[in-house]
Amino acid sequence: MKKNKKVILTSGQEGHLSDLRRGQKCVVLNFHNDNAALRRRLLDMGITKGVVIEIKKFAPLGDPIDIALRGYELCLRKVDMEGIDVRVL
């Protein structure tokens, strides 16, 4: 499954965290995923409603992605970021 469609989100638009480009900032709106352990883990790592996230770095092969939030950096896989709804700042 390869996604060829590239979504480009601009300021004010809503979408998935996985669609953002390097350097973009966004605010988290909601979660939707049914993996309880993953959900809890993301909450514990500080990805709660209203938190501001910046896309910092992509791994050289495009995945995972390094994001900055709450004063630290976290690596996540793209698939796991798809379940996070955000609004671009």
């Binding site: 883990r41 709660t48 992509f58 050289p60 995945d63 390094d66 630290y72 690596c75």
Partner: protein, 686 residues
Amino acid sequence: MKLALLGNQNSGKTSLFNALTGSNQKVGNWPGVTIDRVEGKIKKYHSTIIDLPGIYSLSPYTAEEDVSRQFVLNEDLDLLINIVDATSLERSLYLTTQLLELNLDVVIAFNMYDLVEKKGIKIDIDKLSKELGVTIVPISVKENRGIEKLKDIVFNKKYLKNKHKKIYPEDIEKFIDDTVKFYGRPWKHKFHKRFEAIKVFEEDRDYKILLGDKLKDEHLQIEKKYGMDGEQLIASLRYDYIEKVRDKCVTYPIEKETTSDKLDKIFLHKIWAIPIFIIIMALVYFLSISVVGGLTSNLINALFNGSTSIKFSCAFVTWEVPLKIEGLGPLIARGLGSIGASNWAMSLIQTGFISGLAIVVSFIPQLICLFMCLAILETTGYMSRIAFFLDRIFHKLGLSGKSLIPFIVGAGCTVPGIMSTRTIEDENEKKATIALVPFIPCNAKLTIISLISAAFFKQIGFVIALSFYFLAIVIIILSAVIIKKILKRKEHSTFISELPEYKTPSAKYIGRDVLDKTLAFFKRAATVVVFFSVIVWTLSSFTPTFQYVDGKNIKIDQSQLRYLGDGISWFFYFILGCRLDWAASVSALQGLIAKEQVISSMQVIANMSNGGMPIDIFSSTIFSYFNPLTAYAFASFNLFSIPCIGSLSAMRHEFKSWKKMLIVMLCEIVFAWLLASLIGMWGVLL
């Protein structure tokens, strides 16, 4: 007094543990170095201190979080020391808010305070302490600051009692009170009322059955009001509370590009990241094997065995220095001879003891160099980057980015490598990693690699040495693909990991780490290897009818060892290029005990065949038939077949199954045999 150390992964917990207890646990700049709890004693204060695995939360979902949670709930503790990475304040305090819900006193060790100052972050410690209601001690384990003060506060009980501050909105606090009241006394554990009531609200896995009819309405109303479920709500509220506290007590400098960001532009570059990684690893092995190894190993051998001229090599140059050294072995033998000791006693000392030990010890300088380079790469945080960028490849292979850590640890020793697979969340990824770690050449196997590379490939030795590592990588990738086909995945796995900042490595920790590993290697050489070398000597010194092999009338190929070797030499027939060789066969068999023992055994046999005189392994008549291809094949078999017994038992322990371990073992033997036979026969067929 009984204390537990708790904190996020990579917050410096183990370093603090070492600083407090004076012990030497492994430290690294990646999340999850402590996999099990470790206990230490502080005699001066009659106290026990327990280092728990690093966690972000007291949720029950990952193994290390569950271990820590069960431990703090069930154990009778006097105090929790919560180590907080002061540079990632918010995320660290999230755990603190949970710890404060337990019925235990908490002291915060505010670590990496040196970095806070360097970054220009201003934290009002007194105010923060007042807001949270906890004693906070700023420390820097790296610069050894604040440790004494922490000890004073902890052991002289100068800390604040846990006040159980109410941090949630009124309706939620009311729910908590109602839950406590409703159940009268807490449900599972003696003390932790507030903690458990909040878990009921969160509908935690272990507590959700307690949310009975009477509480359900109240719970539902609150969820409706805030538009979030209990779990999400509590997490959000904790972070809201922390943000409020943070705004009151902390001022951050204006953001600018950090050094880590700048370095990552190079080390995580789209195109250059992988070539840079390969170059760094190549340099590490070039430096260890070609430079340090070339300069020292012959000299050390000469010190033990005696020599008239010593060959040095450095990088691509070789030179010979005439230098007459009698050597420890011949010296002792001469001494024994002068007091009338018999020939066999002299041979036992010189060949059995000294030579067997010498060949292994001669690798110590290059191992020290290797340990040092790897320790630097670990503590600077570079290895975390590698895990980050290899995750995609690893994920495709059915492994996790975190599998890299076991592989790197396994390059030192397979046993801790296998144990460090515990940080991998997904069961299948973990099992696959356990099965694959033994393919990475450990430092004992490095002795075989180094010997073969230097003896047959001279100047390009380090390239050959590296080729074994690349061969290992190819084998791992192939096996991973096969394993992925066999183990069907249940659900997709996750990779959630902090990316730590680059840190200047601390000389103290690197020194300790290197010393530790070197001593362990030497200990094995001085005990296991010497013991089995003496056995090899004994078996090769006597015939089945206990005639002494004197090398003149009775030769080594009449010895007991020879008959033993004949029993298994068929197995190595193709590997050695259509040759039945009892001597190489028995040596390879001893790799089961310890991989260094292979070369030690070959050395003893070579000397015995040379009338007890020290000789280069591949110059001796018995092993002179080896050519580069058969040598490479023989080494490959030793590297990629079954690991030593220690690793097998670690594997059984982590698999929790004999059957799985035996299957993996069998696969490894078959696979290594096929590979090595192919290489060995190549020379014959050409």
